[in-house]
Amino acid sequence: MPTDEAIIQLVQAGRGREAFDQLVPAYRRRVFGLAYSILRERTAAEDLAQEVFVKLWQALPRYDGRAKLSTWVYAVTRNAAVSALRSRRRSMSMSEEGVLAEVEAIAAAPGAEPGDAGLRRQVEALPEKQRQAVTLYYLDERPVDEVAEMMGIPVNTVKTHLHRARASLAAALGTGDSA
């Protein structure tokens, strides 16, 4: 997997095409995961992730390396996802039923177990930031500091969100695990 430094060097050398070809596989999962954690729907998240990469392609020649590459990519993704979420809420194209239907579909995917649907429903019922932290943390098993960078909030706040989310989930599922 190419490093951020390698990608930045290519950008600064004017080799934007090569830089972008390395950027997409390096950030595909993270951009998609962040979009998914905000939009809560796989198809919409994938569409948005593609849109984000088009934006990055257009903006890459102007990237001056002052901000961390990952910070820049996450900021572009967050802004695009929040904007898409707002317009979706206005048009009401994605109802709560739509989200739940997707949850069911994912839970019915190969490898999923019957209890997973209930757990996903409980995750969907969490407050927004807790749900987003849980999604980013478990989707790719990202470290907490990276989840914090993706969400644009302090590490300790992410830890608090995760702690509260686990406690809520454990209580809701009756497992008695809350620590």
Partner: protein
């Protein structure tokens, strides 16, 4: 944190990923973007810019040459025909200082000076 809950959460999110054609779709979207300015267009703009720069330089040279030429001619005339020029100047000043000539001349100069300003103020 319970290992069991952790494991269930990992399993619940497993399999959520982009489609296999993700990168191809990104490439297709980029290919569909309006084309960037072509090299030929950029070269044409550069030629126009260079041509305009040459024209301005030529005009500046011509203006300087004209000013030097007129100045040199004036000095030569004064040098060779000094007394006649002095007489002619005195006669011209005498004529110009009479009210019959001075007033219309002043009005003409004033109108010529104000004309660009008046033109801007006039309705189109």
């Amino acid at each position: 944190m319970s290992g069991e809950l952790d494991e269930r959460l990992r399993r619940a999110f497993a399999g959520i990923d982009t489609s296999a054609a993700f990168e191809a779709r990104v490439a297709a979207r980029i290919a569909a973007l309006p084309a960037a300015p072509r090299a030929a267009d950029l070269a044409r703009v550069e030629r126009q810019r260079a041509s305009a720069a040459r024209r301005l330089a030529r005009e500046a040279w011509m203006n300087t040459s004209t000013a030097i030429g007129i100045g040199a001619a004036a000095i030569a005339v004064v040098w060779r025909h000094g007394p006649a020029v002095a007489r002619w100047t005195e006669d011209a000043l005498a004529v110009a200082s009479s009210p019959e000539v001075l007033l219309p001349a002043a009005m003409t100069v004033l109108a010529a000076g104000l004309w660009p300003v008046l033109r801007r103020l006039m309705p189109r």
